[in-house]
Symmetry: C2
Subunit: 369 residues, 2 copies
């Protein structure tokens, strides 16, 4: 007798959005010397966050506060919004799943860019929506095209990352606000700002929670170095937050992450230091590319997309990096997949990367561009 899967789940592929670096290490039998493929921070936790999480170990037997009250209070103050305009959850991945579940009925289209975040697509398919893809324009997501498409297909949800992943490109807040004019009523924009802290000033539109169309998504996984702790949040109109509260797992956020995030928010000196290190790291990646005769895309994130000229060369270079114990990923679809995406590493990771990169690139067969 078969397992009574829903029709939808029975129809889903078993494929997963990402293969983790641990899996690759198990396959190779060797640890990576540079783990710079998942846009993680090379600069770890704020000492204040580490201390808070260490102390929270004493209360690890207790569930976290299901209302995430203290953290939401601090975030509300930080962003000058109401506490009922913040929803804390176990990372943006989880929040994206909730948004899709909350807004997308079977067969509804969700608009995203062709080559944008695969986990969003995983959720869209997983809840029975239809992925509607808009091409990148000059390696940037195209807000007007995305919002116009959302209007055309009556999508309840459209996704835009600013700064963008996997290309690292960005739009100014001003140009986004202008583009919002094309965003139809009755459509929600999931504005993924995971890399907000790395972006130049004026990249982020002003926060306006009166606009029911725009949900801002933020995370402690990147600049705050807490990817392993699973904590992020949405800033949105209170009615959106109420909707999320109807379906989220109320005890999903772990107690250490709550304590760590609260402490991390208070450590502005550490954040500034990380921002500077990431800026220096981007420059170092630009220089590495330039020395090798490659174009690096200017980035507003903690990674840099480096143009290898063709998907074939990009894949080959990625394989060579893996052979040299360097974990890097690349975009999944054309034309983005002519690039590889290299994260800002630690000093040790850079020291390993730079000579290997130059050597392996030189040895790359002259594959068709």
């Amino acid at each position: 007798m078969p397992i009574p899967f829903t029709k939808l789940v029975a129809s889903l592929p078993a494929a997963t959005p990402f293969v983790g670096p641990e899996t690759l290490q198990r396959l190779s039998g060797r640890p990576f010397k540079a783990r710079i493929g998942a846009n993680e921070s090379a600069f770890g936790l704020s000492p204040l966050a580490r201390q808070a999480m260490h102390e929270a170990l004493e209360q690890c037997a207790w569930y976290g506060d299901p209302e995430n009250h203290d953290l939401r209070s601090a975030l509300a103050e930080r962003h000058a919004v109401g506490i009922d305009e913040i929803c804390v959850d176990a990372g943006i991945d989880s929040l994206l799943g909730l948004l899709v579940r909350m807004l997308v009925s079977t067969g509804d289209p969700v608009v995203t860019s062709q080559g944008a975040y695969p986990t969003l697509n995983y959720h869209i398919s997983g809840f029975g929506g239809e992925i509607c893809r808009v091409p990148y324009c000059d390696d940037r997501e195209d807000p007007v095209a995305l919002f116009t498409m959302a209007a055309r297909v009556s999508a309840p949800l459209v996704y835009l990352a600013n700064p963008d992943n996997p290309m690292g490109t960005w739009h100014t807040g001003e140009s986004l606000v202008q583009a919002f004019g094309h965003l139809p009523d009755g459509c929600v924009l999931a504005l993924d700002e995971a890399y907000a802290e790395f972006a130049p000033p004026a990249t982020l539109p002003p926060i306006d929670t009166r606009d029911r169309r725009v949900v801002r998504l933020r995370t402690f996984s990147k600049a705050y170095g807490m990817a392993g702790a699973r904590i992020g949040y949405a800033i949105a109109h209170p009615d959106i937050v109420t909707g999320l509260n109807k379906i989220r797992n109320h005890f999903a956020v772990n107690r250490l992450a709550q304590a760590g995030a609260l402490a991390a928010l208070r450590d502005e000196g550490f954040l500034r230091q990380v921002q500077q290190q990431v800026e220096q790291g981007r420059q170092r990646l630009y220089r590495l590319a330039a020395r090798c005769g490659l174009h690096a895309l200017p980035s507003a994130t903690n990674f840099v997309a480096v143009d290898l000229g063709s998907a074939q060369r990009a894949s080959a270079m990625l394989a060579r990096m893996a052979d040299n114990d360097i974990f890097i990923r690349m975009p999944g679809v054309a034309p983005l997949n002519r690039c590889i995406r290299i994260g800002v590493g630690s000093a040790a990771e850079f020291a390993h990367l730079e000579p290997v990169f130059a050597r392996e690139l030189a040895a790359l067969p002259a594959l068709a561009r």
Copy 2:
């Protein structure tokens, strides 16, 4: 313009399954002196787990292994099953949500006991299923009645906790295996064994992952003292695990929890110590009830249901406990709600509880039984 919620989400109530103790503390303005209402462990983390989690803080900037490989390996060995028969996720709450989503289409009935775990009901409603309730029988869930009902209504999913929450009662593994004869093909039993480690020998049926009908749910939240870390797992037929893998958030489990759970599994001495302390705590709660002339239900968990004779008296006693900074919960529906559910506390919590309990009970108005 309204937010384009799905019809289902628009229809859901904003109510949540549980009010957290932190919320109650904020309302009263005072911290609890005894936090014994959420079945958390009073005995904290294994020192090995604490050490592993402390060390994992150094890798907190890295996402956890999305395959949970090392932990699944250890669990597979522990339970003598294949690694593809284990699904690790961020606690049983999350696994229950995945099971409902995986098996329940709009309007499908899910069978559970009247008064059983509210979070399951939250998920059933949240995914559009219909809750089909079977009464407890003599304060125990009624497996044969549950499975017979599942057959009658063609439920794709039936829920049973053994040992039970909120009553603490249990069935022998042998009687459950007999009851499985009534479990229809094409129906999955979510067998919630969150309190497995506290139960007498022979409470747990043998694990048989060849049976596609039975999913065993286990957690590190209770005996292992890791509720705040969010980690649990399912043991099931590989096809069930494949189904869960199609929809779970692959990076949902936090890296510290992975490290802590792996270390906790290895610390069998600590687990035995917790089991003994819980057994002693139950005896102490039985004695407290007896001294007060109350009946305490024999428990196979880390809490004891104490019979106050009526819902009115139980509610009144709960309120008095809260006034004395003691956090306790009680079952939500008749006839279970004549009881209050008191967790095994630490020595300090017991010292606070015992005199307060006796005094407040004596002062309770002679409410109608």
